[in-house]
């Protein structure tokens, strides 16, 4: 039987993802976790992300045209906002709801993804 071990790199990644408050890209996670575990390699980050997703500890956030980002598993439906300037992604907990009616006749809607684009509060503010 396989058994998951608790390693410094995994702990560092977990801490970084928990603390972020927004979905992080693999490179961000790698860079941020390196302050805790300097030698951390990208392969390890990808391998652990995969394991953590399978363990339902985190989940991928995939926006159109962008690589996957990861955030702690949310219980409940939510969407995302991407800043056109800094390109960071934020959670949006509101939902327009009732999107089933938009589908063509005979189509059944099971799920939807909504992404807003614009300026985040920091980038909207004058410098």
């Amino acid at each position: 039987m396989s058994q998951e071990r608790s390693t410094r790199q995994r702990a560092a990644m977990r801490a970084v993802i928990e603390a972020a408050g927004r979905p992080l890209s693999p490179q961000e996670i790698c860079a941020m976790a390196q302050s805790e575990v300097p030698g951390l390699g990208t392969a390890t980050v990808y391998r652990n992300l995969k394991l953590m997703v399978e363990a339902r500890e985190i989940e991928p956030v995939v926006l159109p045209g962008e690589g996957a980002r990861y955030e702690p598993t949310h219980h409940g439906h939510h969407h995302h906002f991407q800043c056109n300037e800094c390109k960071r992604v934020f959670d949006v907990h509101e939902c327009p709801g009732d999107l089933d009616r938009l589908a063509p006749k005979g189509f059944t809607v099971e799920r939807h993804e909504l992404t807003l684009y614009g300026r985040c509060d920091e980038c909207a503010a004058p410098k």
Copy 2:
């Protein structure tokens, strides 16, 4: 000044995209256009796709986690529906509108993308 030339490869790509009736990936476009222009290379496909997008002749359709596909330019805002079974993508011309209110305070919404997932009419129907 630059002037766009009409070439066989561009014409073939245009024809393929027009005839498809659904958004096509660069590889599909390349493969399909090669029956008309055998030596067509991927670099040319990508370069022409870029030009055609800039010329507003076609537009990219980018779904989460999928590479870009291209379809003839639609006039008017629209969204997409992807069938979970056949994976085909369809246009959805309705729009929930008024999504600006969903953003966090201080955030400005400029644009939105909405993708519905479910069953298309053919796949929803019993076989």
